[in-house]
């Protein structure tokens, strides 16, 4: 176990090193940070002076060594735009992203497990076919579009007048298809509950929860179909296996067979995929956060790119790299708990 963790930590360090080198190497391609800091009419001489002061004129290697030296002491530099240490900026924005990911994960877990299991047990039922059809559509719609449609329907509201208003049925259909709107379409709202440090939570107030709905649903919409299909396929495969037949022959109740024996083995590959997908979800938050002006790290990163805020870009990439390494490690640990036959690499047999 210890050897496993040591191995993972050394991997993490390597990952961070590679990311920082790459991020540094591409900074010239990211544009001129000064452009965002001075007005158009500032003369070249003035610009040159600021550049010199910021150390932007030094060769890349010198800049990197300076950066790495500070990084080893836990200082990842100061954001050009925020004027604060990059880690502080990231920690300020991270809770919003984590809450969004938690919200989306909850939606995914709550919906994917029952639907996936149901579709596996009753593959021929029309409801299963309906879910499978919807999930195919869902998986192919980009999150941007989902978000815009959700905002139009649930925030702005739609008035439908396709059917004759004077006929009773037409009126009913129009009313049924029209929506009021009213759900918040941007940001996290005013009433956040401070938890600890920079973490202000939206989970404990009505306003905060309302603001979470649309972004979480949008973010979940990419992963949910994938998980439904995955659980269904795995479950169907498990249901074919011998031990399930034996359990049935033994006369166990079907709920015990499905939810205890079958589901447990179904979840193994789901956890593996899930771990990787959480990392990918952090990447997708960039899109979702942009559409909903969600003040998380995704939006912060995108803006850092348009502003060429290089210290912040480097720090963000390193933090995301770390998140990937941590989630994968945790997944491996959980995997061992769920299935004791799996050996962790580095663990003595």
């Amino acid at each position: 176990m210890l050897a496993f963790l040591v191995q993972r930590i050394s991997q993490a360090v390597l990952v961070m090193f590679v990311i920082s080198v790459i991020a540094f190497a591409i900074q010239d391609g990211l544009g001129d940070p000064l452009q965002q800091m001075v007005g158009m009419s500032v003369s070249q001489d003035e610009r040159e002076a600021i550049r010199e002061e910021m150390g932007l004129n030094d060769p890349l290697v010198v800049q990197y060594v300076r950066f790495a030296g500070n990084a080893l002491q836990g200082d990842l530099g100061i954001s050009y735009f925020y004027g604060k240490p990059t880690m502080d900026v990231i920690l300020e924005h991270l809770p919003a992203t984590l809450e969004l990911v938690i919200g989306a994960s909850l939606i995914i877990i709550i919906f994917s497990v029952p639907i996936g299991v149901f579709a596996a047990i009753r593959p021929q039922a029309w409801l299963s076919k309906f879910f499978m059809g919807v999930s195919t559509v869902g998986i192919s719609i980009p999150v941007f579009l989902t978000a815009i449609v959700l905002i139009q329907i649930f925030s702005i509201g739609v008035t439908v007048d396709w059917f004759p208003q004077d006929a009773g049925w037409g009126q009913w259909l129009n009313a049924a298809l029209s929506t009021e709107g009213g759900l918040p379409s941007y940001g996290r709202g005013d009433d956040l509950t401070p938890l600890f440090g920079t973490w202000e939570s939206g989970f404990f107030s009505q306003g905060g929860l309302l603001h979470l709905i649309l972004p979480s649903v949008s973010l979940a919409s990419i992963m949910l179909p994938l998980f439904i299909r995955l659980i269904r396929a795995e479950m169907m495969e498990v249901l074919q296996s011998d031990y399930i037949r034996y359990a049935r022959a033994k006369g166990l109740s079907s709920s015990r067979v499905y939810f205890l024996h079958a589901l447990k083995n179904t979840m193994l590959p789901v956890i593996t995929v899930g771990g990787v997908q959480i990392g990918i979800m952090v990447a997708y938050t960039i899109l979702t956060e942009t559409v909903f002006q969600w003040p998380g790290v995704g939006l912060m990163f995108l803006e850092a790119i348009t502003r060429s805020d290089i210290p912040l870009i480097v720090a963000y990439l390193m933090v995301v790299g770390l998140i990937f390494v941590i989630t994968n490690t945790v997944v491996d640990l959980i995997y061992g708990l769920v299935n004791p036959t799996v050996k962790l690499t580095g663990k003595k047999a």
């Binding site: 391609g29 990211l30 544009g31 001129d32 940070p33 452009q35 965002q36 800091m37 001075v38 007005g39 158009m40 009419s41 500032v42 003369s43 070249q44 001489d45 003035e46 002076a49 600021i50 910021m54 100061i78 050009y80 735009f81 925020y82 004027g83 604060k84 300020e92 815009i148 905002i151 139009q152 925030s155 702005i156 509201g157 709107g181 009213g182 759900l183 918040p184 379409s185 941007y186 940001g187 942009t290 559409v291 909903f292 002006q293 003040p295 939006l299 912060m300 803006e303 790119i305 348009t306 502003r307 060429s308």
Partner: protein, 520 residues
Amino acid sequence: MKTLLTAFVGSMALATAPMAMSAEANKELKMAYDADPVSLDIHEQLSGGMLQLSHMTFDPLIRWTKDLGFEPRLAKSWERIDENTMRFELREGVNFHSGNELTAKDVKFTFDRLKQSQDYKAIFKPFSELKVIDDYTFELVTTEPYPLLLNTATYIFPLDSEFYTGKTESGKDKSAITKHGNSFASENLSGTGPYVITGRQQGVRVEFERFDDYWDTESPGNVGKIVLTPIKENNTRVSALLSGGVDFIAPVPPTDLERIRRDKNSDLVTMSGTRIILFHMNQNRVEAFKNPKVREAIAYAINQEGIAAKIMKGFATPAAQMSPEGYQGHNDSLKTRFDVEKAQQLMKEAGYEDGFTISMMAPNNRYVNDDKIAQAVAAMLARINIKVDLKTLPKAQYWPEYDARAADMMMIGWHADTEDSANFYEFLTFCPDADSGSGQYNAGNYCNPEIDELVNKANVETDLDKRTAMLKEVEQRLYDDAAFVPLHWQDLAWASKKNVKIEPILNVMNFPYLGDLVVE
């Protein structure tokens, strides 16, 4: 009954009349811009966003009116003492947010700080000093007669000198202007303006509250609290207005103008802007561009009306010159000259009937539809056999390329910080000179010393009529020479809920005077 009602209304009027207007400021306004102020130090950057903040939390000596005139603010009057000196009388009894009283020494402090600011020092270069006469009188002195003295005075937003002087706990100088890293002024603010900042989370929200002690009790403004949220994504910003999440948004993207116009709960206000979008033709890179006939041919080949109507969806005013209407140099007689046959004819006369190939660069996220405009221009040039190799880049990467003059034709948009024609020429058509910094953005390398001379003469001409005539002539000569390819002035648009009366407080400089905003 009627008499009773009249009596009642009468007593109401009596009861409310003596009360100061600011006491009634109890409305809340939620607004969304595309960005929030980068800092609280108004001298750190000269940009639209910072000026918008300045007008909310500070007051200028004088400010622009809707029709580009001046109205007194903290300076209640001014008179010219001699050619180089203007004397200002300061309003008395004006308090800063900190409680300190505004006097001429605050104005001097501000002036000196502006001369230090990297972004402002160029604008304040013509000024030699600010002379304090007494607590409420001071003089602005220029080295030469300067016709734009009042234009520049609109940039003087007096700071609270006492508040910004001294050292912070960590030993930093409170008056320092820092471009990167934190300074005292970038996080603390004390002005005379209608709003005090009560909360700020950068990139997320800024909260303002009406300043109880605001000097301008005549102001009709009745907004007590403002929450500013930056919403960068156009679609999201518009949705926030349509769903009722915010009361006021800017800018409105051209693609959503119709949607907002149709919406029964929203008001849309548009104005022809002052930012000129144009292409330079680099004579250093392309021999053919040295030939005035070729430049003229290009001028004839470009259909400005078409771009404004089709690509900008009417959200732009086609331009044949740089100075927009209302500027001194604006020359009414200059018309767009789209005529492909004439263009082909000119190319033939210049000996380039078979055309040539050039490179072109444009940003793709800086101006409205910038990349589409560039594509259209490239297509139009193809009709006179000029093949264009077009590259569009995000703005962060575009400007380094621009500084390196990396393509034969490059796009730029320019807004004159002084709200005056001469600023266009100085930056965009003056003979480039690295030492003096003139022609800093002249990516065409067009150089006509006679025209430069004329502009310099206009810059020391305080007789308005004479100056106007000179600048009009400059505009005419640049047109005849086809020094650059003007495209259009980008329009401005704002939108609000019906009960938010934004129209009276908006202006072409795009700094809404939110202190005077009335919400019903």
